[in-house]
Symmetry: C2
Subunit: 551 residues, 2 copies
């Protein structure tokens, strides 16, 4: 951004924002390496046209096209709307044949969306959005050089209608899709507004947008009917979306801004997973790879460069809000690391922002349950194992709980506790993911020993302790150097697609090449799930390093 109205926010503030959004500055530098050439969907083309003469009396429209042609955009596939045609004669003469044309480049045609007098440079901004069921992340991007100018994140306002996608769909059936659509759009518009204000830019500068989300989220955001996602045979309305005009969906940016929505191959494996795969680049790599999004739906992918197999384990909410009473996103005040004293059972907590805790984020939960298991505060079946007289013991209705932080240590003035229900929810979620991978591997006659890399993404913030995730049986007990944690890969892929036409095409290719395996009526999956409802697993032989540790 070279305009003097746009003031860059301090590097320090930005880095913090990016960390909150799950992506550090190091990764934004990495992105810039990945995206070699910026090729937006929508471009503003400043033109200095020759005035007409008796010898050169071509029409205004052809004169405009001639100018656009010289910039290398294919005018043989160009369309133009009535409004633009009607204004053309005046617009072209207002500033002596200097104009700026706004052109959207679609899959198979281009369209002149707008022509304005004058040809001063417009500082074009882009927005990448990750629409999570729980949290939404927005990057504001300089379309000139790909710099991330601001990153904002917040809770999806749809949460008022329930924590998981099923609740959201039920709510849409009851109150109408528009209500849910308005909720998520108001969240997105609010976050864009915040980003825009932080750099003192104008929302009309935003003319390229990429959105990534699971299938329910994209349907609700676009106002598409979601009800058939919920019922067998689980059919989405739309998998691959055309490029949409911002004003047609109520997005408060430039009204003609081009919006690309990440395609999603199935009702329970959506654009966020495609976006994540795009970012990781796994589909271009040879090794047998597992990809896990440890979010609300527990989507998993098993793939190499020849095929992509995917499924949803409906992990529930244990790793992303709702399934655990004190869970929260990886934001200031979230407990992100836990270790427990084997004698006193007192935890020592690392809290994001170094403030008093107000909840626990995903990585903190994995730490907590793993520490509790290793210190025998819980049994492998998830039951709490400490004496009712212990200071860390709490009774929560009918069930036992462990006090993670006493009320006076918190910023919420209540005990932060961890209940047997919380533990059961986590066991169910981690068990489903583990069982899912066994089924996918069996499908191709393979097992965990043949997996060459495991990519984990999800809203864990900066930090995920692989050892502890293995300890609870979420990840398989294989060589630790095969694991890579990649943060929020959905927003990362959206950012890449925002900057590059090649990546937008690649996203469509990824979505089209995915084979979706439905677990909803899969007996093998149910069997494996039952075996995995233990910490780390009913068959401890599958987790030799854990067997050794808890011996």
């Amino acid at each position: 951004m070279e305009s003097d109205v746009t003031v860059k926010i301090s590097e320090e503030v930005l880095e913090k924002k990016l960390q909150i959004a799950g992506v550090g500055k190091k990764i934004t530098a990495e992105f810039k390496n990945l995206v070699k050439e910026i090729t937006p969907m929508l471009v503003n083309i400043p033109l200095e046209l020759n005035p007409p003469t008796l010898e050169d009396s071509t029409s205004d429209h052809d004169r405009l096209n001639r100018g656009i042609d010289k910039t290398g955009i294919d005018i043989t596939r160009m369309s133009i709307g009535m409004k633009v045609m009607r204004e053309l004669a005046d617009v072209m003469r207002d500033e002596n044949w200097n104009v700026t044309a706004t052109v959207v480049k679609k899959k198979c045609s281009n369209e002149v969306l707008r022509v304005v007098p004058g040809n001063s440079k417009i500082d074009s901004l882009g927005v990448a959005v990750d629409i999570g069921t729980t949290s939404i992340v927005v990057y504001l991007v300089d379309m000139e050089d790909g710099t991330i100018l601001a990153a904002t994140s917040g809770h999806n306002r749809q949460a008022a209608c329930g924590d998981d996608v099923i609740n959201r769909i039920v709510c849409a059936e009851k109150d109408g899709v528009k209500k849910l659509s308005d909720m998520v759009l108001s969240t997105i518009n609010g976050l864009i507004n915040e980003a825009i204000h932080s750099v003192k830019a104008d929302r009309n500068q935003i003319d390229n947008v990429v959105m990534s989300g699971n299938t329910t989220m994209t349907h609700l955001m676009l106002g598409l009917e979601p009800r058939h996602i919920r019922c067998e045979p689980y059919i989405p309305s739309v998998s691959a979306f055309p490029i949409i005009k911002a004003k047609d969906i109520g997005l408060k940016v430039n009204p003609v801004a081009a919006v690309f929505v990440m395609p999603g191959p199935a009702s329970y494996v959506g654009g966020d997973i495609v976006s994540g795969l795009l970012y990781t680049g796994l589909h271009r790599e040879e090794p047998l790879t597992m990809f896990i999004d440890v979010g609300t739906n527990g989507e998993i992918v098993l793939e190499n460069k020849d095929w992509l197999m995917t499924a949803s384990c409906s992990a529930g909410l244990a790793f992303e809000g709702g399934g655990v009473r004190w869970e929260m996103p990886a934001e200031d005040g979230a407990i992100e690391k836990v270790s427990i004293d084997p004698e006193t059972f007192d935890p020592s907590l690392t809290v994001i922002g170094n403030i008093s805790p107000r909840g626990i984020c995903g990585s903190g939960i994995i730490d907590l349950i793993s520490e509790m298991l290793l210190k025998s505060i819980i049994q492998p079946n998830g039951k709490i194992n400490i004496d009712s007289t212990h200071p860390r013991y709490a009774q929560n209705g009918d069930e036992k709980a462990y006090i993670v932080a006493f009320s006076n240590e918190t910023s919420v003035e209540r005990d932060i506790i961890f209940t047997e229900t919380d533990i059961y929810n986590i066991i169910r979620s981690k068990g489903a993911i583990y069982a899912g991978f066994i089924v996918l591997l069996n499908q191709v006659g393979m097992d965990f020993s043949m997996v060459e890399q495991v990519i984990i993404t999800g809203g864990f913030g900066q930090y995920l302790d692989i050892d502890k995730a293995v300890t609870i049986g979420l990840l398989p007990d294989i060589e630790r150097n095969k694991f890579r944690y990649m943060g929020n890969s959905s927003i990362a892929g959206a950012y890449m697609a925002l900057l590059s036409e090649e990546y937008r095409k690649e996203a469509l290719e990824i979505s089209n090449s995915m084979t979706y395996i439905d677990f909803s009526s899969n007996n093998k999956f149910m069997h494996e799930l039952t075996s995995a409802l233990f910490l780390p697993h009913t068959n401890l032989k599958e987790f030799p390093s854990v067997e050794e540790a808890i011996k």
Copy 2:
């Protein structure tokens, strides 16, 4: 049309309507020969889709596309609007996966415009429109087999703003383009309504429309700024139009109907001429050919299969309303043939519809002036030459006039007269056309003797006496078998383009290949025009057969 709601009008009534519109039934049969395969812009595709299953859980949109793909339409270039996407889930399930998709096939992409439940056949209708400055002609066409079901014609309501295109533009500058746009659209909508009612059809059945008109007419119809057409260097806003949705221009047919507007290469050579050339097929033929539209603007074309040269002679109004006080279109009550008794100077008149006359149409005017010249009622300079005591003599203000029909012989109860001003206007018009051709021929080093055919079109109804047109110097004095009169070629070309994608492409090719020669500042043209302001010409040697006749 196989629907029982559509009742065909009687053959006799239709033939009369077609004659009024300038095209007889014989020509409609010829059209059907020309158009081998009907390829509309917009098609309604009935589909019987397979219901989804767990094994076939593709999205509603992909399922629809799969169905469309089987009909041979390219779905890789297919787009879809938000409204259609939002309704898709319900629409597809309403009639158990039987739907009808409406698809528009554009130059470089296709779009699903609408999907409705059920797949019963829709009887699709088309409309071809010739938007003349004076008269508008509408054909209503069965898109299944190309039958012309009805033809209607009427005066362009814009006539209230002046007779020629210049007056219309001036009026648009004063009162706004919208006023003129509304006038022509209300005329067109009225004529479509009349056609629809005559066959008891529904306007929503009309989903394909082709419009042909001169550049000013198409600009005003579409609400495009026309003012630069009028002033040097005479620039139209748009030459080649995208396919437009009917609702975007206020055309009262199916709201999503596809509208193709004939492209026009220059401000004074428009889509009507392109349409005419398309109909004649001249651009595909070897011989050196002259093409004349003897209408308001006197457009001329000189061409062979390698090049097309065109110009406008701004013929004025003498052959199409306004320039001659008693002129009218070739409708019931128009004098279309005249012969004059050399002794009594009494005319014998042929009137369209065999009723009392109420005016004179173009062919009648040519007959009249030619007869008056041959019978020495006028001199070669256009002055009236009969005695003021003669019963056919009338004084009209300062000038002399000839009484064509006495008031008691007419249906208007006034003398129908022919004044020296009328004669001067005709001399100017015919002189401009003749001079124009000389300039075009000179441009390529040719003369009239090398011309192999002459095509004449314009609103003369069924009849044009070539000999008499030569007598007054409108047409060159060459072998009579080189002349062909083709009626309203603009509506004929529009009809062809309505039925065939090939012809729509060809129209664009014709328009692009035309070289426009501007006469507005051409000294050679002015010189030739001065020489031609005589009956038939100052140089009588150019008209040997006329010299012989008036000897």
